[in-house]
């Protein structure tokens, strides 16, 4: 029996929203090969109105995932390459004096897009980082004392490169917390890699990609994702997991209440993407590593070396109510 076979699913039926989501999932799966779980998580993150941090080596498709997400979902896209000399103004924009009109005119920066790819976010100075992070948190930016709302939906995909930590400004825990999920893409398997080598050029595929939904439909999807039923037993489960992260001797800093909220929201969105009739423990487990991994601080003497191992350890120590 395959995993996931027993989970009761809702039919797609005539629901156009759900059909659009399903199409988006398939389209993404055609470009990013063999990464269905990550695509599902990325979509869940987006539907839960969270931001995504992708951490992996160069060349594994981080940018490709972000760009195709924007394309498929029909979102306006801009990319900010973070460098050490990036200034906040380069992100949010500047007021420019126009001689003709004799007035200052605001020139919006790349942040005024619906989907932002913040590439190598840990290369920029904390000042530049915090400009982006403020935008992420508030969905608005302040320039010259004026507050400007950002377009909705607003979704940031940041990438960072774990192997190359020299000359970087690692994001502090408080800022990592702003990202709903952190994903690792990992290498494709042999068959998928072969397909990548001999198959169609991904860039071309990307330009041919058609939007399956509109920003307004996406907002409706986000609203529906929040409606997925979550039983008391499942809330108990989430609480038990959070409690375990706080009292486990392997973990120094456990999940905050905000982390618990994030876990619940992500699990709901995941259940929605999977068309589950309620949030199941499987949904919680599926998003747990992505949601909790970057929020936990391992204890110095733990034997679990990676965040994924640590999260799996937590999952293995908590009974499902």
């Amino acid at each position: 029996m395959q995993r996931g076979n027993t989970l009761p699913q809702l039919p797609i039926g005539k629901d156009s929203e759900r059909a659009a989501l399903e199409n988006a999932r398939q389209a993404l799966g055609e470009i990013i090969l063999g990464k269905d779980d990550q695509i599902e998580l990325a979509l869940s993150c987006l539907l839960a109105r969270g931001h995504l941090l992708i951490e992996d080596l160069p060349g594994l498709g981080k940018t490709m995932l972000a760009q195709s997400l924007a394309r498929v979902l029909g979102l306006s896209f801009s990319r900010i390459q973070f460098t050490s000399d990036l200034l906040p103004a380069d992100i949010v924009g500047v007021s420019v004096f126009r001689k003709a009109s004799g007035e200052f005119e605001f020139q919006p920066g790349p942040v005024f897009s619906q989907l932002i790819l913040a590439d190598e976010v840990n290369r920029a100075t904390p000042k530049a980082q915090s400009a982006l992070l403020e935008a992420m948190e508030e969905h608005q930016v302040s320039v010259d004392g004026q507050t400007r709302a950002l377009p909705e939906p607003f979704f940031v995909v940041a990438t960072q490169n774990p192997a190359d930590q020299i000359g970087t400004f690692p994001l502090p825990e408080s800022q990592l917390d702003r990202f709903l999920m952190r994903l690792e893409l990992g290498y494709p398997n042999e068959q998928n890699e072969r397909e990548l080598i001999v198959g169609e050029d991904r860039r071309e595929m990307l330009s041919n990609l058609e939007a399956t939904t509109t920003p307004d439909a996406l907002k409706a999807l986000q609203a529906s994702a929040r409606e997925v039923h979550m039983s008391d037993a499942l809330v108990d489960y989430i609480q038990a997991l959070v409690r375990e992260t706080r009292k486990s001797p392997d973990i120094d800093i456990g999940l905050s209440p905000r982390g618990a909220q994030a876990l619940a929201a992500a699990a709901r969105a995941h259940a929605f993407v999977r068309r589950h009739s309620g949030v199941y423990p499987d949904d919680v487990q599926a998003v747990f590593t992505a949601v909790a991994g970057h929020r936990l601080k391992a204890a110095g003497n733990t034997s679990h070396r990676t965040a994924a191992e640590l999260c799996q350890h937590v999952l293995d120590s908590v009974a499902i109510p």
């Binding site: 029996m1 027993t6 039923h229 486990s248 120094d252 589950h276 309620g278 423990p281 110095g300 109510p321």
Partner: protein, 651 residues
């Protein structure tokens, strides 16, 4: 290949706990250990801790081996042996110190904590005081807390850790007590613990040389405690005989080796009422067994009456002993004695103490009879200027002459010696008896404490047909010493004239209370041996407790207690209430015969057991699906029925 030696600071929070546990466990040993062992322990601890703070590597194997060898040789040099309690605990302490040096992981600290438990237990081989048990329990509590601190969450409050370990100890306590009561006690010679008594207990000496002592310090140490079955005899009748000094060389008196003499008991005739009492004797490392004069029956093993009507034990008294004696105050001892024997009690070296001999002869001629002569001598002590003092002047070559004619100051030994020499000079057999006189009645414990300060010397004279009679010349000089005893004289101010200073009254009362507690402890806890155990078992209704019976009872009681405790713990644990869906699902899980792993979702469980249980895959899927819907999806009464049907169908 060299082993990894680096440290990463991860032990910083647990290492102090481990070291503190070891230090507390080592503390009772410190007064007995060679000084350098303690220094080595402290040195190693400080060194190791600084290694951890600096994240430096621990010393190499070769260096540690070198240190171990050095410590071993050091102990060998200090003790000349490695067996016994002293060298054993020194080895254990150095082992612990060196183990700290190679501690790199939590596992090593576990070993250290085990060593700490062993260390604190081994201190019982040395001494078992009243405070030993609380100390032991406190140490165990600390060690268990260290364990919890090490394995648990470091951010847990210390109080919580202590509470947890306290609770664990409390759970274990009933079982420990049951084991202590029921574990078959075997008479000591069978398995003897090498109790360390090399530290020498001051007791009675088998020599007496009053001229050489210029200051007698009174030791407050307890010699023995006596609990009387009936009334306690009056102070003047409390003469505890321990040994007799028959030999005199002109300056000092000496005892005979303690021996057994066949028929010694037949030489004693008794009259009147017997006093029955239990003596708890502190170890003396000597063979003399003090008893009220004159002992008639006793129950101490390997003990018999010697030729001087004293009790002698074959083996030295190397640990606390308890025995019951029946004594008669009215007695007649050895009324007839052969001439050869009698001469032993008349010996005065030729030419020694000439003035005394002269005086005795003159007084004897004047008195006319032996009895009158004795009275005259006592009267002389009483009426002339003789003083009782604990700080007498030193005496020259003829100490009895010097005492009688020049200094006239002394304590019991001086008077006994002078009196005895005078008796011998005129042909009355006499000897000196050493023992204890009096004792303080402790009303809190209803027993008599006899301290080393109550040690006393008196004389016995012999008459044909009457036997040995006690004469205490000290009573003539300082009747208070005999009537009231040392302790009471001290508080009455009389003792001041003798050179005694009294402690505060409240302090004395506290001492008495503490002593009563100690006595009970010695009696009931430390003295809990085969006899007491048998008595207790008999009173609890077990007839003729044998080794086998006790062992079976022990197993039964411990098993019962374990069940009881587990029962209580299980009752106190409240499992979360299960809803109907869970109950049904559990039924299904039970039927599969496979237990879900912790954290395994029903879906994962279904995938795992599919095909392996004899239940159809479809049925498993149906049950799982129905369960998930019933429990996690929006509530729908129909889903429960569906689940019930599915579970019933899954066979």
């Amino acid at each position: 290949m060299a082993k990894a030696r680096g440290t990463d600071g991860s032990l910083l929070h647990s290492l102090p706990w481990t070291m503190a546990s070891l230090a507390i466990a080592l503390l009772p040993h410190v007064p007995y250990l060679p000084f350098w062992v303690t220094i080595a322990f402290i040195g190693c601890s400080v060194w190791r801790y600084s290694i951890e703070t600096r994240r430096a590597p621990v010393p190499s194997t070769w260096f540690r081996a070198f240190l171990a060898m050095l410590c071993f040789l050091g102990i060998l040099a200090t003790y000349d042996t490695i067996s016994g309690v002293g060298p054993g605990s020194a080895l254990l302490a150095t082992m612990a110190a060196l183990k700290i040096l190679e501690t790199r992981r939590l596992r090593d600290q576990f070993v250290l904590l085990f060593i700490a438990i062993f260390l604190v237990m081994s201190s019982l081989l040395r001494e078992q005081y009243l405070w030993s048990l609380p100390y032991l329990v406190a140490t165990l509590l600390f060690i268990m807390t260290a364990w919890l601190r090490m394995s648990g969450n470091p951010r847990q409050p210390v109080r919580t850790s202590f509470r947890t370990s306290g609770r664990m100890l409390a759970y274990a306590a009933p079982i420990a007590i049951a084991m202590w009561i029921l574990f078959p006690r075997i008479s000591t010679p069978f398995w003897s613990v090498p109790i360390d008594t090399s530290s020498g207990v001051t007791g009675l000496s088998d020599r007496m040389s009053p001229g050489d002592i210029s200051s007698l310090s009174l030791s407050n140490a307890v010699a023995f405690r006596a609990r009387f079955d009936g009334p306690v005899p009056a102070g003047r009748d409390l003469y505890w005989r321990a040994l007799v000094l028959p030999r005199f060389n002109g300056r000092s008196w000496a005892a005979w080796e303690p021996t057994f003499r066949a028929g010694a008991e037949e030489q004693v005739a008794v009259r009147g009422d017997a006093y029955r009492y239990q003596v708890t004797l502190e170890p003396t490392n000597q063979q003399w067994v003090p008893a009220l004069e004159v002992p008639y029956e006793w129950d101490l093993d390997h003990t018999s009456m010697g030729r001087m009507q004293t009790l002698n034990r074959v083996y030295p008294i190397d640990q606390r002993m308890r025995y019951t004696v029946e004594s008669f105050i009215d007695y007649r001892a050895e009324p007839y004695m052969a001439n050869g024997m009698r001469r032993w009690f008349l010996g005065v070296p030729e030419g020694s103490n000439p003035r005394t001999a002269e005086l005795a002869q003159a007084m004897h001629d004047e008195a006319g009879s032996d009895q009158e002569f004795i009275r005259a001598v006592l009267r002389k002590f009483h009426e002339e200027e003789f003083f009782y003092t604990l700080e007498p002047p030193q005496l020259g070559s003829d100490p009895v002459d010097g005492f009688l004619f020049d200094t006239r100051r002394g304590f019991c030994e001086h008077y006994a010696s002078a009196f005895s020499v005078m008796m011998r000079s005129v042909g009355i057999p006499s000897r000196i008896v050493i023992g204890y006189q009096g004792g303080e009645y402790n009303p809190r414990g209803e027993y008599l404490i006899v301290r080393q300060a109550d040690a006393h010397a008196w004389t016995e004279v012999w008459f044909e047909g009457i036997g040995w009679q006690r004469v205490d010349p000290t009573a003539a000089v300082a009747p208070e010493r005999i009537e009231m005893g040392i302790a009471e004289s001290m508080f009455d101010g009389i003792g001041e004239a003798w050179g005694l200073s009294a402690p505060a009254e409240w302090l004395h009362q506290a001492t008495l209370a503490w002593d009563a507690l100690n006595a009970r402890w010695n009696e009931w806890v430390l003295g809990y041996g085969p006899t007491t155990q048998e008595a207790l078992m008999n009173s609890l209704g077990m007839e003729e407790p044998s080794w086998r019976k006790l062992m079976l009872t022990l197993v039964a009681v411990v098993a019962g207690l374990t069940l009881l405790l587990s029962g209580i713990l299980m009752l106190r644990f409240r499992p979360p209430p299960k809803d109907r869906a869970t109950v049904l699902y559990r039924r299904f899980v039970k039927r599969t015969g496979v237990e879900p792993r912790r954290g395994e979702t029903p879906d994962a469980f279904a995938a795992r057991i599919a095909g392996g249980t004899g239940i159809a895959e479809a049925a498993i899927a149906k049950v799982t699906s129905a369960y998930l819907r019933a429990r996690y999806a929006e509530s729908d009464p129909a889903s429960l029925d569906e689940l019930e049907t599915a579970v019933r169908a899954a066979r």
